[in-house]
Subunit: 370 residues, 2 copies
Amino acid sequence: MEIDARGGRVRYRDLASGSEGWESFDTLLVATGALPVCPRVPGSDLDGIHGVCGLQAAVDLRARLDERNVRHAVVVGGGYIGLEMAEALLSRGIRVTLVDRGPEIMTTLDPEMAALLARELEARGAEVRRNEGVEGFEGRDGRVTAVVTAAGAIPCDVVVLGTGVRPNTALAGAAGIPLGVHGAISVDERMRTGVENIFAAGDCADSFHLITKQRVHIALGTVANRHGRVAGITIAGGDAVFPGVVGTAVTKICDLEVARTGLHEREATAAGFDPISTVIASTTHAPYYPGAMPISVKLVAERNGGRLLGGQIVGGTGSAKRIDVLATALYGGFTLPDLVNLDLSYAPPFSNVWDPVQVAARELLKKSTS
Amino acid sequence: MEIDARGGRVRYRDLASGSEGWESFDTLLVATGALPVCPRVPGSDLDGIHGVCGLQAAVDLRARLDERNVRHAVVVGGGYIGLEMAEALLSRGIRVTLVDRGPEIMTTLDPEMAALLARELEARGAEVRRNEGVEGFEGRDGRVTAVVTAAGAIPCDVVVLGTGVRPNTALAGAAGIPLGVHGAISVDERMRTGVENIFAAGDCADSFHLITKQRVHIALGTVANRHGRVAGITIAGGDAVFPGVVGTAVTKICDLEVARTGLHEREATAAGFDPISTVIASTTHAPYYPGAMPISVKLVAERNGGRLLGGQIVGGTGSAKRIDVLATALYGGFTLPDLVNLDLSYAPPFSNVWDPVQVAARELLKKSTS
């Protein structure tokens, strides 16, 4: 593949016939997605080391697990994919060791919220090892037998990598299309790249962060879909813009729902804000109604004026989707008094009279100065 | 009880000793709540006709049901209380007839959404009778035996009234405190009444509707709590305001979650808007993930410019709390393009890549003119 941006054409190869040729274009959309990041360490080509990128990778991993002699898996990386894979492996009765190079897993959360997830995994029998970067893999007969970290070798039958993705932009970069943050293609709010008539959308393109006002690369299906919608409408001559993201993400780890949006405390400080924060504990709905579960909500706001900067939620069934209220509030530039005054819904099966996000807003409001 | 507003004192009776006296005040908070509305028709004082206002009413009703000879109940009124009572009665194996004087139950929803609830109740075995106002009750030995409507007598062992509430403001009215909409005490955004140093909060007071810009009386715990918070802070010398409500409410009827916020279509027209609307069908989360349920979302917006006016949601587990996104968007004055661009959360256990409220916003956007 090759993009001839100036000539307005693309060199392609027909995967069925193998023949190659050039196809000219009036408008080009680059939607090359992302590629998994794999640790470049000795032994990384051993059999039994599985990424989880694309359907075939999942089929391959499941086939390996179905061989029934897998007793112990090491998951490398404590992000969304790593944690979801840890859950899936645990649910198959496989012993799981999760290895993360950082001091805490799930760095999209602040440490005290991420610790709730680690505790949940440990309660399910997983071992969570922090501050252990992978230095290599050991094998026998071409098959992985251990993961090596600074703390020693961790014997295992299979390794699952959840070590992130990077924008797949070699093709675009070679064509002279300007790349930016993390090597993602720089786009404007109509998904136009720096080259006329060439658009980009999805995991290969960057986004504008509505809170930091910086370009960011967020490889999520929600963002990619919005990119695609705006690119399509624009290319077809319509009118649509994608103003940007606030960094919402959600997942489920065993019985815990996990959600975040905006900036966590360290991100807020790094972005130049003077943040205040609070963590509150409540229940997912009225405690006297059956099925109420614990929920923890952390809010981060600007000290002066109390503008919301971000939120994190960890809790039982019914917790995660509450992040959408905070994502909506961030889009609107709402302050803590705004959050307190929102007319959110209440009935005993669904909430307390004050929704947990509003309990947190009330708490944090006491720390803000107007 | 008597309020001497000019004299700054209240006449009280000590319920324990029976003694009466006057208590002077610097500041007075009227929080007299609401009273149930009962049909004033022949036979309404018969035994076996139960309201559901206050704990004792529930205790009394349950005691009656525990007598085990209750086979058939008539519920009068198809609002939140009536429908929740119908569910409770059905779950005890009691035959239920729901009688509503209007052409459709649950008038806080548009008819096509309310019809989904009626269908759910009917699927559970309830009979839903519309356009039948209660004209009287028949009894034997002082005990109710039938509810009489224009269509005839409906034999029954017990009657449950869900016929609404009205502000309990006779005391305030007699004291010369100005009353407004539906007889509720008129308050400003700091919960001050028209009489100096007298405040009101809760079901006895009115609220400002952020969309219609009219005063409204909404007797819900969420609103009452916000009233109380602002009144308390203000009386204590602090600074807080209650900007108003958007009319959010939520309930669960059997296996259906029901939610609404803002204006439904008829309310929007009545308020002078030129509304457009759409109803979409989706699933509560990714259909390939276990447990996905149908969800219907109706959105109402201004034809010109697409500002959101209201939303209604009926669906399975995980549906109702999505109304909070719309309530938050209403507070912010968001348009349909804003809704489409919100960075809402997605993971297969929680949502589709486009949350159902955004699917509805995309659909309705096609009908708006900018």
